[in-house]
Symmetry: C2
Subunit: 221 residues, 2 copies
DNA sequence: AAAGGTCTGTTGTATTTACAACGAAAGCAG
DNA sequence: CTGCTTTCGTTGTAAATACAACAGACCTTT
């Protein structure tokens, strides 16, 4: 467990907590370690989750199989990332997705009740930890809401415009660069790449925007 | 403020806390009340938020105007609902949306730092409050992830199948009823109602499912 | 410089969706 | 019961998208 302290220090969950304090907290939080072979399921649809997890080593896929057996990959978890934070609410039903190790992986488990209940010994960093979790899922919440606002647009054009519009606001400038290449942007917006490229060209021809690679500039009309 | 205690008792934020305890906590949390006229903006895009809000009376719209001036309503807030929980993270940038009162409205403000930092007098319900917030945004997170998983499907058919498939899992049965009428389901999945009705009919003709009003039954193939 | 790979824009066609319009069924009010 | 409103399914047409295929630009490697 000790060997993961350096990794944990860099996670959102333990942000602002020193390595020594992390080690003392691991006991307080009843931290557990589990290893998974490539292809092994960490969780299956229908299970209850009572912990918060951090992936220490390897790679996980959050995926889902529908009633007729079609597989769908929802998310990829990389080392340092927290997951399961949305499934620890009591009485909220069971896990809707599968979690599969696509490489040999190591996962750290933290007892959720020990995190949320301030312990009797009142570790000085417990409050910090609660804030960190809160901030992390708030942040994720925000990203999800934004993403839904793009995806709920009906056409590829409107999806592009709403996303680029938000990025311009976020950068306080009508010129900005985005963190995606074309295929990634298309995946993010859930549209076809070639159709999106096509639409970008149309928007450029109509004078609404300009772009070179990942650099975009929005134009007044 | 006292007159809102009954309302607050029924909110997710104060779930499990008695009215008397709520009143004593309101001071501890530095609760503030603000009223808005119909049409008045509670918040504008670009502002920083340092509180958690609960709508006590009226109705609010979370909406967004893009770079070219197009308006888009993202969400409607009704009495008892909490909002702003995704925007209180420090250094996470500013509000991306506008919040507008579409009726005369009353909003309660709770200082976010006082919520997350356990107070010196250690009110017995402070831990409960933190859990409640955590559960609420976790829950919201979960709903958002599920919704994205439906919306990221490319066709109306796939959106329907992934949603209905999840509902069947959630009910542990291939027969279940959904909480939407057709138009609401179409809005939820961000598709055209008539196209969706059409697709439902096709699925029924193909023997994949049956439905009467809001009652659905999935069939093995 | 040449070869191989990836990324991007473009085009054509088949498929799917949006939109408008309408009639039948169901629910509600007087 | 009658008339009014809402909901739902259906259809036809215009518009948008998915998909496949390809060429040029840009990288990296040798």
């Amino acid at each position: 467990m000790k060997k993961y302290a350096a990794l944990l220090k860099r996670t959102k969950l333990f942000s602002g907590v020193g390595e020594n304090d992390i080690l003392s907290m691991l006991h307080c939080l009843n931290a557990q370690v589990r290893e998974y072979n490539k292809g092994e399921y960490a969780f299956r649809q229908g299970e209850y989750i009572r912990s918060l997890m951090i992936l220490a080593v390897g790679r996980l896929h959050i995926q889902k199989e529908d009633y007729w057996g079609n597989l769908n990959i929802l998310n990829e978890i990389r080392p340092g990332e927290m997951f399961g934070e949305a499934y620890i609410v009591p009485n909220s039903g069971t896990l809707m997705n599968d979690v599969v190790a696509i490489e040999e992986s190591v996962v750290l488990f933290f007892d959720i009740d020990r995190i949320l209940t301030v312990c009797p010994s009142a570790c000085p960093f417990h409050t910090q930890l609660i804030k960190n979790i809160f901030y992390t899922i708030s942040d994720k919440n925000k990203s999800l809401v934004q993403k839904i606002s793009y995806m709920s647009q009906r056409s590829t054009r409107e999806k592009l415009l709403s996303y680029l519009s938000d990025e311009a606001k976020r950068h306080n400038s009508n010129s900005f660069s985005i963190p995606f290449n074309r295929q990634q942007l298309a995946d993010f917006l859930s549209v076809d790449r070639s159709a999106m490229s096509n639409e970008l060209s149309k928007l450029r021809n109509e004078g609404m925007l300009d772009f070179h690679k990942n650099e975009f500039t929005l134009r007044e009309l």
